[in-house]
Symmetry: C2
Subunit: 264 residues, 2 copies
Amino acid sequence: MKKTRYKVTVAYDGTHFSGYQVQPNARTVQGELEKALIKIAKGENIRVHGAGRTDAGVHARGQVIHFDLPFYIHPKGLLTGLNTSTPEDVTIVDVEEAEADFHARYLAKGKMYTYRVDNSRFADPFKRLYAYHHRYPMERKRVEKALKHMEGTHDFTSFASTHSDKEDKVRTIYQARVSVDEETNEWLFTFVGNGFLYNMIRILMGTLLEVADGRREADDIPSIIEAKDRESAGLTLSPVGLCMEKVYYEGQEMPGTLKEDHHD
Amino acid sequence: MKKTRYKVTVAYDGTHFSGYQVQPNARTVQGELEKALIKIAKGENIRVHGAGRTDAGVHARGQVIHFDLPFYIHPKGLLTGLNTSTPEDVTIVDVEEAEADFHARYLAKGKMYTYRVDNSRFADPFKRLYAYHHRYPMERKRVEKALKHMEGTHDFTSFASTHSDKEDKVRTIYQARVSVDEETNEWLFTFVGNGFLYNMIRILMGTLLEVADGRREADDIPSIIEAKDRESAGLTLSPVGLCMEKVYYEGQEMPGTLKEDHHD
């Protein structure tokens, strides 16, 4: 039988998960996926590798994983089979057969995350699981100025959890944007970058909300970055509004980056 | 102190409620509202009257309630006070001082309900609490024809739970519509009527989905109504997609009805 590698896109509601990565005595996304795969692989344990380890409470619409099956099964059949076995807060969005050396994490060239803020005076009960409620008036121009300062290649030490185990804290944010729905008071922040440190977006967001409602100035961002000190940035915002939207691989265009060369 | 009657609009996520109405040993919306009011009324029990008793799992964006306080408090203060005391799946949307004889249920001249269907092949995990997942292809023209048959004044015995305690089962549906978001595969059904029997919209919806995917014909609706027999209609659909959107009172325009006379 032919060993086959699959690249699979997964969406999940992070509310009832202790994060993506397997840990003892906790309900995790990886754990649920591996449980579903045992059935498909007829009792064999299949190890799953994810592009990113989302924290407890963080959502995903486009987490990418890879794994090997000891046999070939058509991607369409695997898509249906997995969706039959996963719980209702996990949905398999797409299944592709991948090259034998495809790796969901090592080959990712970038990721897109969104962060949703409900800026209504009183929290919308239907958004409470998928958006962070911030009741204070927010000023869009201030936020946009701060986002511009965040774009580019920087040492993001000030915006990384002190528990981050990465030595090199230089990352590039290709695009940091916000769109506002005036009718529903929902603010949707989008971050595209080549990689994000532990808690980085949640700390960027904590800092952005302080800029938004006037507790901090947009032009303070460069000196916060410069300080390379976690204490200089804002609070780590709740995971509730955070969602891993997309993982980019070779050949896929990323917002905010130049198109790859192509010859007509 | 002046006894004051208030008209209050409430939104709630019905997921974790055993319905609107108070019952022993169950978490209910009315129960949570009365608990919040005890604090505001300094220990006095305040009875709350709702426009409609939504079932377990049914949501609301515009439930209307009334109650009397033994004193006057400014509506804005009451709005903030209530929102401070209610749990996060209940939000007070609006507070008005009402006439002493205002009654949320008896004076309601109509209601608008919506029902959401997620027609994706695999359920969207972010919609699972607020939409019913139906994976079979649905045909919009068939649905629209069936909805037309439902509009008007009919004896809706076929579409009422056999547990309905109402003698008179004649109701008027002023408007029954559907809108479809092709991108997200979400179907939003809207029903405006002068009143709805127990489970009526959920049975209408169960029947509509059978029409939508071809198990029944749109032109069967008149004979189902004619039969006055619960057995002739479709299944009672899950409460998950149902939401009480609005309650209409004297002086408010209702979609599908003629404007009230007014003289220039």
